[in-house]
């Protein structure tokens, strides 16, 4: 904890990842899976769930071992822990559904290099007790899933004319194939970032304006 700063409540800890520090829209971290697998809403949710699992597992273990890990070997230790949970989730997904496993392809294994996870271990879990670390990791994981879902649903709606596999527009709809290709990922991410930042910039300004009005 930073001296002089108040300890955040559990709710604040949870909401940090969902909104204030959203990994996709605010920190713009973990873009490799965010762009690569979000061609459909189902893929986005599966990737979000897998990443959340790895975040939770590594947060718990790093937090439990935080007083035991010397600074000098912390990165090596975190990487081993993260790689373990990525391998576990890889086996679990293959055991649950081969269809999802094949749709996500190599991107499950690539969770191991998602900078958001190592970032959480280094910046949060290594400094906080298990419950607090888990709360923060859950918020971050859900925030990441939400970001992926926002990308995946828009890309699926325009690229395939469906959402969660349910056709929306009938047979006459000509899919925008570009949405399923990498450039489409960038377009949609750009549009969401624009919307999100406009919203964030607008809220304090609106509050200020309201304040001026009430005082004036």
């Amino acid at each position: 904890m930073i001296p002089g700063r108040q300890q955040p409540t559990n709710l604040e800890e949870f909401l940090e990842g969902l909104w204030k520090q959203n990994p996709v829209f605010v920190m713009v971290l973990g873009l490799c899976p965010a762009l690569a697998v979000t061609v459909s809403a189902v893929n986005a949710l599966a990737m979000g769930a897998a990443t959340t699992f790895v975040l939770l597992g590594s947060a718990l273990l790093v937090s439990l071992l935080r007083n035991f890990i010397p600074r000098e070997v912390r990165i090596a230790t975190y990487i081993v822990i993260i790689a373990t949970f990525v391998t576990i989730v890889d086996y679990l997904i293959a055991a649950i559904s081969l269809t999802v496993y094949e749709a996500l392809g190599p991107f499950i294994q690539l969770i191991v290099v998602n900078c958001m996870i190592l970032g959480r271990a280094e910046a949060h879990s290594s400094k906080n007790p298990p419950l607090r670390a888990l709360t923060n990791a859950l918020g971050m994981g859900l925030g990441f899933s939400l970001g992926l879902l926002a990308l995946g649903s828009v890309r699926e709606i325009f690229g395939s004319g469906s959402l969660f596999g349910i056709a929306l527009f009938g047979a006459d709809f000509q899919p925008w194939v570009v949405m399923l290709l990498p450039p489409g990922g960038f377009f949609v991410l750009g549009a969401w970032l624009l919307l999100f930042n406009w919203w964030r910039a607008r809220t304090p300004a609106a509050l200020k304006a309201a304040e001026v009005q009430s005082h004036g």
């Binding site: 061609v39 273990l61 071992l65 035991f68 890990i69 010397p70 600074r71 000098e72 070997v73 090596a76 230790t77 081993v80 822990i81 790689a83 373990t84 391998t87 576990i88 086996y91 679990l92 293959a94 055991a95 649950i96 559904s97 081969l98 269809t99 094949e102 690229g159 899919p175 194939v177 399923l180 290709l181």
Partner: protein, 228 residues
């Protein structure tokens, strides 16, 4: 003059502590990994079996059971374990009465982006390829992936000529992909307009696979028909 107060340097970590930490963490992680591997292995194997069976039944409609075999110059063996030298894998599918419906095999060739892997069915009585399905591909969505859905393209595989010569050593006519609308013979595959590279990859994959598998399989077809 005021003395500068310097923070005390952090106590040095002993090498033993570092090695011990890494050792303990690696051991804990190792145990977790082995436990997960052992507990999911059965489910993963079962999933793979079901997925393969589904794929084979899709290219051979009416099939009720299937069995994987290896065929090599020395004969046909059930596919359990390592393939014999020069062995090729194929699947024999039977209907509910135990009659051989068709054999299926996997084929693959380089497409536009990566390997296009397909499964095809071969009817030994009519000597035609009469079933087709895509196993894996990374072709462009909306273009190359039409090989999965394009009606005209799938019509190529109603009775694609795969006759062997009299000696049974090779296909009489090599299976090849031709430009959209240029199909003239029963052994040609009419490409999808705009996805010629992917269509030709399918043709090349099937030609290479059938060219090797069918001559090996020919002497054993009668035996396969008898075996339950």
């Amino acid at each position: 003059m005021t003395a500068l107060t310097q923070p005390a340097p952090p106590p040095a970590t002993s090498s033993l502590a570092m090695i011990r930490t890494l050792g303990v963490v690696a051991t804990v992680c190792g145990v977790l990994l082995v436990l997960t591997y052992q507990n999911t292995l059965e489910a993963i194997e079962a999933n793979k079996r079901i997925a393969l069976q589904r794929a084979v039944f899709k290219v051979i409609p009416g099939a009720a059971t299937m069995q994987a075999y290896y065929v090599s110059p020395t004969g046909v063996v059930e596919a359990n374990g390592a393939p014999p030298p020069g062995g090729l894998k194929f699947f024999a599918a039977r209907d509910a009465a135990g009659q051989l419906k068709a054999v299926a095999a996997e084929a693959g060739a380089m497409g536009y982006a990566d390997m296009v892997r397909v499964l095809y069915a071969y009817d030994p009585d009519r000597q035609v390829i009469n079933g087709f399905g895509v196993v894996a591909h990374r072709e462009t969505p909306g273009i190359g992936d039409k090989i999965i859905t394009d009606r005209g393209f799938l019509d190529n595989f109603r009775a694609l000529d795969a006759r062997l010569n009299d000696a049974g050593t090779a296909l009489v006519n090599a299976i090849k992909g031709v430009k959209h609308g240029a199909r003239q013979h029963a052994w040609e595959i009419d490409a999808i307009s705009g996805a010629t590279v992917t269509s030709r990859a399918v043709a090349k994959g099937i030609n290479d696979s059938a060219g090797k598998l069918l001559p090996l399989l020919r002497p054993h077809i009668e035996k396969l028909k008898e075996a339950p």
